[in-house]
């Protein structure tokens, strides 16, 4: 079980900020593929991965990162702090 979080327009497209996902995905990219297969809104949110960033256990990461032992994955657009 992994907590999956969505922020900004990713959250708006998915429709909620957080869900628990039962998955055997080996990498973040595999998880994305699983989610996209579920419903059109995931397809819409993950249509262009170059427009997205991912954090694995609250650290910026990449789509090829492994998920073994991971508790939390977050998807969001490039950050606009400051």
């Amino acid at each position: 079980m992994i907590d999956v979080l969505y922020f900004a327009w990713v959250r708006e497209r998915i429709g909620f900020p957080k869900e628990r996902v039962e998955t055997t995905a080996a990498t973040v990219a595999d998880l994305v593929a699983e989610l996209k297969a579920r419903e059109p809104r995931y397809e819409a949110a993950f249509a262009d991965l170059t427009a997205l960033r991912v954090a694995v256990d609250q650290t910026l990461s990449t789509f090829d990162a492994p998920l073994a032992g991971v508790r939390e994955v977050a998807f969001f657009p490039p950050m606009t702090g400051g």
């Binding site: 900004a8 954090a55 606009t80 400051g82």
Partner: protein
Amino acid sequence: MSVRVQSALFDIGAETAAFAKGRAGVGAIVTFTGIVRDRASGGLSRMEIEHYPGMTERAIAGIETEAIARWHLIDSLVIHRYGALGVGDPIMMVATAAPHRGDAFAAAEFLMDYLKSRAPFWKKEVAADGAEWVAAKDADEDALRRW
């Protein structure tokens, strides 16, 4: 070194005064304050800032730790707000204290460049004619490369 992530308004003057208060060895203090600016076309009702609780504090603490490792700093402060902000309200503030001005300036600019692109905040501009997520600028990503 301190980090504050808050929805509450903060007072730039009071924060600057508190940060500057009597620390031995300090010769230079730099502050940066980011303020909600209206759109070029006007009409901004508010700015909404979303963040990633938990990761935000970790990311900012990591950025400050890196600044302290790279420059001779005596102290640093980052305050960043989230929630709904009005035009003219302060969004965030960075302060650095160092023996010399070069370190204080460089560390403050470094902190700003990292906060822009590496701290998990997202800004949305809300106006009567609609709402829009602020897009990340290539220039902000480029600014990181100089460090």
